[in-house]
């Protein structure tokens, strides 16, 4: 027997919205089982994970702080994935963005001015874009698989950051800890409210979401991205150059990941240290798919995933559950959304093996 998938007719639009909701519901159902197996009261655990993080303004700000890099990276990835370009290395581009921007903060310590922050943001975007162009150029010139190259470059970026903060950029008064100095005020993003951590980065991210929505829905470039992903030959017939587009979307998604990185460094952490990212670049892949590769969808999905991050931290404290529970959630969510997508669009069928002709 062999398993084949037959396309279902007329499941297009319904599936688009049904699938993520169904995936969230299945994830919640499965997590109830997992909590029960861990000896927790499932209802209390769900409350800790999903309601406590948004029960006060401080919590909401924390969710925004977590959601900002996720959404920003995911919007860039959505452009990539839409056009059938598989940038899996946003985590690396995020770190390179933080390194480029953070390097300027370290370098200008003590003599900078108001020009430092804009320079940092530009440097972060440029660094992320150039780093993302490595797999893109290899793909368009030599047909090297972009998934592997972009993924492997994550480890290069991680080790580069590790070396920098232990070596040349280590804080001389940091008691030998592997970290840079704390950035000067002119090298940090202003906070939006006193008593929280939400900063200007969240506003920038919302602007990016709006711009990306308009680009995707109303411009020829957005149409080009969609058409190259849907029907590459038709895109050529439309006069679009798919290689140039590959370079463009990789550069844009790298720039957004780099921007997320430098804003995380300049806005939230305010220094560079190893383990500086809790895997935002990878989690953003889930966000992009959960958000249906649509900028507004990414915003909603990013907020949801951010809640599970905060909820996971709460659960560590209140329920003494390991932080890995959060990763289990995210893994289940991606698994369910891919399964729902497939099963809504296709009908599985067992066919008997045909005798060789």
């Amino acid at each position: 027997m062999r398993l084949t998938l037959d396309r279902r007719d007329g499941a297009g639009m319904a599936g688009l919205f049904l699938s993520p909701l169904l995936a969230v519901a299945l994830t919640l159902a499965s997590s109830i089982v997992v909590f029960w197996l861990l000896g927790q009261d499932p209802w209390r655990a769900l409350n800790v994970y999903f309601l406590m993080p948004v029960s006060d303004f401080w919590g909401v700000q924390e969710v925004a702080v977590k959601a900002t890099p996720l959404v920003l990276i995911a919007v860039g990835l959505a452009l990539c994935f839409r056009s059938n370009n598989w940038n899996i290395g946003a985590e690396g581009q995020f770190l390179i963005g933080a390194i480029c921007g953070g390097g300027i903060a370290v370098w200008t310590q003590g003599w900078g001015g108001p020009w430092v922050l804009p320079l940092m943001l530009v440097a972060g975007m440029a660094g992320g874009a150039l780093y993302a162009l490595i797999p893109a150029v290899l793909k368009t010139r030599l047909r090297v698989n972009e998934i592997l190259v972009s993924l492997m470059l994550v480890y290069v970026a991680e080790l580069l950051l590790d070396w920098l903060v232990r070596g040349p950029w280590r804080d001389p008064f940091g008691f030998n800890m592997p970290q840079t100095i704390t950035f000067a005020p002119e090298a940090t993003l202003p906070l939006l409210f006193d008593g929280g951590r939400m900063n200007l980065g969240t506003v920038i991210t919302l602007v990016v979401v709006v711009v990306a929505t308009v680009v995707m829905a109303r411009t020829l470039k957005g149409f080009e991205i969609k058409l190259v992903g849907e029907a590459p030959r038709a895109a050529r017939f439309a006069g679009f150059d798919d290689k140039k587009l590959t370079l463009t979307v990789f550069a844009v998604s790298g720039a957004l990941a780099g921007l997320a990185g430098v804003m995380e460094a300049a806005g939230t952490v305010r220094q560079l240290l190893p383990g500086f990212s809790p895997g935002y670049g990878f989690t953003a892949i889930i966000v992009a798919f959960l958000g249906r590769l649509n900028p507004v969808g990414c915003l909603i999905a990013g907020v949801f995933i951010a809640i599970t991050f905060i909820g996971g931290e709460n659960a560590q404290i209140i329920l003494r559950l390991p932080r890995d529970m959060t990763l289990v959630f995210q893994g289940m969510l991606l698994f369910y959304i891919l399964a729902c997508d497939t099963l809504i669009l296709y009908r599985p069928r067992l066919v008997p093996r045909r005798a060789p002709a």
């Binding site: 109303r218 969609k226 895109a235 017939f237 006069g239 045909r354 005798a355």
Partner: protein
């Protein structure tokens, strides 16, 4: 009593009727030719006889009894064997292992090996059972396939264009084997379009055209010319529209010694193609599929650039280096052969499919933003002018039937008022109503002074609409002749490569 009799076999693929009430009778001890152009329905017919496809209507009689053939295994069980054009052999295994694997009953390898040696001696099919397949020539591989069939002791052997991969000497060997089989009272159903071969080998022939049996004959009594005429259609085109010599004006498109290597390793390179299309003229390009039509279309549309700008000249301007959108802005328009995936994006709505071909000339954007209202207006205009039948106002392209999508795709280009239209297979697989509407639209476009270049495998179509015709063969283009000076027979022979000569073509 006939060995095999098919009565009224019909098979549809969507709107296309691949076999329309086909009758076929094969007697024992007969080598029976199945003749027809590409797309005539030969493969569909034999696949039904071998249990690979199920007929929608009609019955198959085997030795007088009505049978159903749900699988090839069932066909083999009755005594029907088939050798395909493309072999299914494991390169790393030996001849004997390959034969043993394909048998429906399990037998020890040694027994298979012995029997194989006997058969290969008896039928003049030299094979070494212990040789690995990757060491063997194409001819030897075909012999394995034939021996594999003969191991089942079939009464009917179906061969799908067996000599297309053989040298003349190997072909002679095959014919000797087939004559031996005939002498034993076995029947052979022989698919080919090599007419001389069929005349020398077969004593009966059934000729298919457009899914129907159009003739039966004894090929020994025919000439290659008369067989070609049966294949491509005996009657000369219906009443043609009145010739208007005055209508055809100066040259608008000139292709000048264009040679382009193929991007696809399986493709055909264009070699020294030269043609001219005048204003108000329809030039038809005939040819069997895979002779460079795709490459010619890509070069004309600009999806593939020409080596020299001057290879393609439109209204006096060299455009060989221009991309497709620059050519569109120079008032050219294109309709590729493949509807879904090339001419249209299947999962995008019609409005975005209109944008796809129309964005180059502007008109769909306002201040940099796409104007959905204008796109929908364009869809409505095409729908109205070309009678596109659809449910919602703006459905996905794949929701339309083949004929309606083709009307949309052709209409999308013609409504843009092109001065040059290049169209490949304008009516491939569409229903008769849509086909005649599209052909009329092409004629009307030329009558308004546009130049039209039609690449088609459908000779009826070309004779109906073309002013002049040329034939493409192995990437080379024949001179163009006025259509009224041409006969189907002459075109058929050109399509088979006669008249091209050995030329400068590398072996």
């Amino acid at each position: 009593m006939p060995l095999l009799a098919a009565e009224g076999l019909t098979r549809r693929f969507g709107a296309l009727v691949a076999n329309d009430s086909v009758d076929l009778t094969v007697m024992p001890g007969e080598i029976h030719a199945l003749l027809g152009e590409n797309g005539a329905g030969k493969s569909t017919l034999v696949k039904m006889l071998y249990g690979l496809l199920q007929p929608d209507a009609g019955i198959i009689r085997w030795k007088g009894d009505a049978v159903t053939l749900p699988t090839p295994k069932a066909a083999r069980g009755l005594g029907i064997g088939m050798v395909f054009q493309h072999f299914s052999l494991f390169d790393a295994l030996t001849v004997a292992e390959n034969v043993a694997l394909a048998l429906d009953d399990a037998r020890p390898l040694r027994a298979v090996s012995d029997e194989l040696a006997d058969i290969s001696r008896a039928y003049g099919l030299p094979l070494e059972p212990r040789r690995e397949v990757w060491r063997l020539s194409v001819g030897a591989r075909q012999r394995i396939e034939i021996v594999r069939c003969l191991m089942q002791n079939p009464d009917l052997l179906i061969l799908d264009e067996p000599t297309s991969v053989l040298t003349p000497q190997e072909s002679e060997g095959l014919f000797a084997t087939l004559r031996t089989l005939r002498a034993e009272g076995r029947a052979v159903l022989y698919i080919s379009h090599k007419l001389e071969e069929v005349r020398g080998l077969c004593e009966a022939a059934t000729i298919l055209r457009q899914g129907r049996v159009v003739d039966r004959c004894d090929p020994r009594q025919q000439t290659a010319g008369s067989l070609a005429r049966m294949m491509v259609g005996a009657h000369i085109a219906e009443v043609r529209r009145a010739r208007a010599e005055a209508r055809i004006g100066p040259v608008r498109l000139r292709v000048d010694h264009l040679s382009v290597p193929s991007e696809d390793p399986q493709g055909t390179a264009l070699k020294d193609v030269t043609l001219e299309v005048g204003t108000g003229e329809i030039l038809g390009i005939a040819g069997v599929a895979g002779n460079g039509q795709d490459e010619l279309f890509a070069a004309l549309s600009g999806e593939v650039r020409a080596p020299e700008a001057g290879n393609i000249v439109l209204e006096g301007t060299p455009i060989g280096w221009n991309g497709i959108n620059a050519r569109r802005r120079a008032a050219a328009a294109f309709v590729p052969e493949e509807r879904l995936g090339h001419a249209a994006a299947p999962r995008l709505p019609l409005s975005e499919n209109a944008l796809m071909a129309g964005h180059a000339k502007g008109g769909f954007t306002r201040r940099g933003l796409i104007d959905r209202g204008r796109m929908l207006g364009w869809v409505d205009a095409v729908t109205h002018a070309f009678d596109v039948r659809k449910g919602p106002r703006d459905p996905e392209a794949r929701a339309l039937s083949g004929g309606n999508l083709q009307k949309f795709v052709v209409g999308r280009e013609i409504l843009g008022k092109p001065r040059l239209l290049v169209v490949a297979q304008p009516t491939w697989g569409v229903d008769a109503g849509a086909a005649s509407l599209i052909r009329q639209a092409l004629i009307d476009l030329a009558a308004r002074g546009a130049s039209v270049l039609v690449i088609s495998q459908d000779l009826d179509e070309l004779f109906e609409i073309a002013d002049r015709m040329a034939v493409i063969f192995h990437g080379r283009l024949s001179p163009a002749y006025p259509a009224e000076d041409l006969t189907r027979e002459a075109v058929g022979l050109l399509m088979g490569g006669e008249g091209f000569g050995p030329g400068r073509e590398a072996a």
